[in-house]
């Protein structure tokens, strides 16, 4: 959490954070449980779980449809859907399930760490550039950086970088601040015994609900902006 430190270890010359690994694994498992549970009995007349997943697929496809060229939507549906449930679960995890051992965070929202959110946005940027190469070929991809003419080259490069940063840091800021505030409300609650406990309980509940709402909105915003970004790559003016 905000003030808590994070345990870390070194492996293969890379640094891993325990909290991110555990939280990421939990999100990963939750996502798998969700998709398997909702698709156990797939029928023509959808039941409860199938309705939920079909609604979600329709929802993410709808977001993609608004931003990508119509003939490309099919190829990006899986990506949009997976991204949405992954980020959505990541945003919500820390709100309902927070674990600290010896002052070190073990479970929290993975998206409250900029490394994770920037990883996600980096993946979007890489995926977008890959899509552009696949769509226009290597030559077309490279020349898209000097359009409308050579002077725009640094601007285009900077645009890539700013997309990467804004996409990752927006969601980090919102989820991180949400968790920091939850932590502060908790500190307030335990500062003066039962009185502040009772006082802060409704505040905590309200803020938790609001954060859950924000987490859902941010997951939506993330795939929306990612698809806008990829759509712009695919619809480059010739």
């Amino acid at each position: 959490m905000g003030n808590g430190t994070v345990a870390s270890f070194q492996l293969f010359g890379l640094t891993f954070s325990v909290a991110n690994l555990v939280s990421g694994a939990i999100v990963f498992l939750l996502a798998i449980i969700f998709v398997i549970a909702t698709t156990r009995h797939i029928t023509m007349r959808p039941s409860k779980g199938q309705n939920v997943i079909e609604w979600l697929i329709d929802f993410t496809n709808g977001v993609l449809k608004g931003n990508l060229p119509a003939n490309e939507v099919r190829g990006y549906g899986l990506w949009g859907f997976t991204l949405f449930i992954f980020i959505f679960l990541s945003n919500q995890l820390g709100l309902f399930f927070n674990l600290m051992i010896n002052g070190k965070a073990i479970v929290r929202s993975p998206t409250s760490d900029p490394v994770v959110t920037l990883t996600m946005s980096l993946m979007t940027v890489v995926f977008a550039n890959y899509s552009s190469i696949r769509r226009w070929g290597t030559k077309g991809y490279l020349t898209s950086f000097v359009k409308p003419f050579w002077f725009f080259f640094p601007i285009n490069i900077f645009e890539e970088l700013s997309s990467f940063l804004t996409l990752g840091l927006r969601i980090f800021g919102i989820i991180y601040s949400g968790e920091v505030l939850l932590e502060m409300i908790w500190q307030l609650a335990e500062s003066h015994g039962i009185l502040t406990m009772a006082l802060s309980l409704p505040i905590e509940m309200i803020w938790q609900g609001f954060s859950a709402f924000l987490g859902a909105i941010q997951a939506y915003v993330f795939i929306m902006l990612s698809s806008v970004y990829i759509g712009r790559k695919l619809q480059e003016e010739d």
Binding site: V6, S8, L11, F12, L14, T15, F16, S17, N20, L21, G24, A25, F28, A31, I32, V35, I36, T38, T39, I42, T43, M44, P46, Q50, I53, E54, I57, G77, L78, W79, F81, T82, L83, I85, F86, P110, D113, P114, V115, V116, L118, T119, M120, L122, M123, L165, L169
Partner: protein
């Protein structure tokens, strides 16, 4: 820039790889367990719905065509019935006229035959009468010739003749 952001922490460069890999793995698992079957089912459903709509449209058209056909057949049979009745009436009329004509012809021919018979009979009667007259004349003539030889006798003859006539009248 990244370093600046996480300056208070360690840079968990391993996490980046971990998340990227787990995301790709998750995408693969979602594809196998959820994405493929669900999108296939959604596609199937939309196909089925569109087929059902087409079929409904088709059967509606069929029903309309059948109703129209039945209506036409009904109208046709009505017309046919009318024709049959009309034909029967005409036939009856014709037959009646034929019978009446036949009867008239028969009556006429019977009448003609009767008239012919009557005329024939009259002719026969006249012929026989004429024969009788001739015979009578011949007889009278022969009687006259017999009496002419004598004048006296002539007178007696005339008398007898007159007498005879008178007798004839009386009788």
């Amino acid at each position: 820039m990244l370093l600046h952001l996480v300056v208070a922490r360690t840079l968990y460069n391993g996490d980046t790889i971990f998340y990227a890999l787990s995301f790709i793995l998750l995408m693969w698992i979602v594809k196998i367990f959820a994405w493929k079957p669900v999108t296939k089912m959604m596609q199937d459903r939309s196909n089925k719905i569109s087929n059902d709509i087409d079929n409904a449209e088709k059967s509606r058209k069929d029903a309309a065509a059948m109703a129209e056909e039945r209506q036409a057949a009904l109208a046709g049979s009505r017309v046919e019935a009318q024709t049959i009745v009309k034909d029967a009436k005409e036939n009856g009329q014709q037959q009646r006229e034929q019978i009446v004509t036949q009867a008239q012809t028969d009556a006429q021919s019977l009448k003609d035959k009767a008239q012919k018979d009557i005329a024939q009979e009259r002719e026969d009667a006249l012929a026989s009468a004429r024969n009788d007259v001739a015979d009578l004349s011949v007889e009278i003539a022969s009687k006259l010739l017999q009496r002419e030889l004598k004048a006296d006798d002539q007178k007696a003859l005339i008398d007898s003749y007159i007498e005879g006539l008178g007798e004839q009248h009386e009788s």
